[in-house]
């Protein structure tokens, strides 16, 4: 098989025109997803069944079904309902971008809230008891003792989730968005050269993954600098 280098050089800039959209999808849904995940986490560990039970159901549904199906339900399914088209949310749901953000946010929030819960559960009981002995009340213990330690514990798993979210943004191409994958698919459909185009696309995604990994690596290092000082 011949490998068309000229085509690769020609198509990479075209695909990079979609990187803005890919990053928008990533950052926006990561931020919204994290916010939602924190709310879900607080509900889950609140100790009140009427808050915890719906959260568990939500997490079970969104972690237990393929994100592609979730995207299709939001994009193609919701507008079938008359009241959705008449609602105030229609301007967002009308746009494929809004649907993609919604689907990615809802999906990542389910995963991230479980990651955060893992972090919270990992905090040593003794530390919290020590906090109680010092007279800190429960909310203070949570904010000043549990949270900082939980963040450090959850960070490695969270960085994995951001990477998998970045990869999930490629699914936005299935609902007409021209992110990098959407552009690549259009180029492939025009040039009939899937190997060259998709391999170049892979390279771009790998670079993005590497950058995310490095950033989180740096944050992790910085957040545990007190540990290194002790050594």
């Amino acid at each position: 098989m011949s490998f068309d280098m000229a085509l690769i050089l020609d198509s990479i800039p075209k695909m990079l025109m979609g990187i803005g959209l890919t990053l928008q999808l990533l950052f926006l849904s990561a931020a919204l997803g994290l916010a939602l995940a924190i709310i879900l986490l607080l509900m889950r560990i609140s100790g009140r069944w009427y808050l915890a039970a719906p959260t568990m159901a939500y997490i079970y549904i969104f972690r237990g079904t393929p994100i592609l199906v979730q995207i299709f339900i939001i994009y193609y399914g919701l507008p079938q309902l008359e009241f959705v088209r008449d609602s105030i949310f229609w301007p967002i749901l009308r746009e494929p971008f809004g649907c993609a953000i919604l689907a990615l946010t809802l999906n990542t929030a389910a995963y991230v809230s479980e990651i955060l819960r893992g972090g919270v559960l990992g905090v040593d009981r003794g530390l919290k008891e020590a906090g109680a002995a010092l007279g800190l009340r429960a909310p203070h213990r949570f904010i000043y003792i549990t949270t900082p330690i939980a963040i450090r514990l959850a960070l490695p798993a969270y960085s994995n989730d951001v990477i998998s979210l970045m990869k999930s943004t490629a699914l936005a191409s299935t609902i007409t968005l021209l992110d990098m994958t959407g552009i690549a698919r259009t180029i492939v459909a025009e040039t009939y050269a899937p190997y060259e185009i998709f391999i170049s696309l892979m390279a771009i995604y790998l670079i993005l993954t590497w950058m995310i990994q490095r950033s989180f690596g740096w944050v992790e290092k910085r957040m545990s600098r007190h540990v290194r000082e002790e050594v």
Partner: protein, 263 residues
Amino acid sequence: MKRIRTILAAVLAVVAFGVVNVATAETLRVGMECTYAPFNFKNADGELMGYDVDVAKGVAGLIGADLEFVCQQWDGMIPALLANKFDLIIASMSITEKRMEKMDFSDTYRISVGRLVGRKDAGWELFDDAGNPIPENFAGLKVGLERATTYSDWFENELPEAEVVLYDSNEALYLDLVNGRTDMIMTNPMKAYLRFLSKEDGGGFEFVSPQIDEKKYFGIGVGIGLRKGNDELKARLNAAIKTLTDDGSLEKYALQYFPFAIH
């Protein structure tokens, strides 16, 4: 040693038999979308039907080959042919110069045109009396098209004013038109009529353009696609299509789905 030789002979015999078998009963693998009614689609019983399917069966009957249908999404159709996933494309694929660079086509077995569908009460003035588009009136309109079709080529070159939205399947075009995500779509008029306009969902919609058949984009029609370098097969396909045209079979196939012939 003797045993090895016996095994070798057995293997050779099997291989030789296999080759002979292929030669006597040729099997042609045919790629199509299987969702492109009324040209190729599955009926309620899951059977493949449609004009393309009838043509495929007619041609196979004449050249004495067995058929094996392979369902393939449109945007991967030509790559799959080139990757030898199947031997022929009989999927209402228009013959264009761009496609001819990568593959071969038989003679045409159907004409190729496109037409716009939009909401009835939109009140657009998109075409002049001579049937030519008025570009400025397309400005800001969202047009749903299938990725990598002749329709998307035509729009991108002739009417860059319009905002093109690319879809992966024909069904999605109608869904988003009804949902109001696009203002109009461009597709095959026969199919738009049968699958959408004549149905309940399509009640509020109509054709908003004349038939558009610029040869530069839409080609001379629809042919059977095959990999380059299969001239012998191509000659046999052409002979079969000629027979089907002359003996009225193509017209007979068409009348099952349309009130008119389409070749």
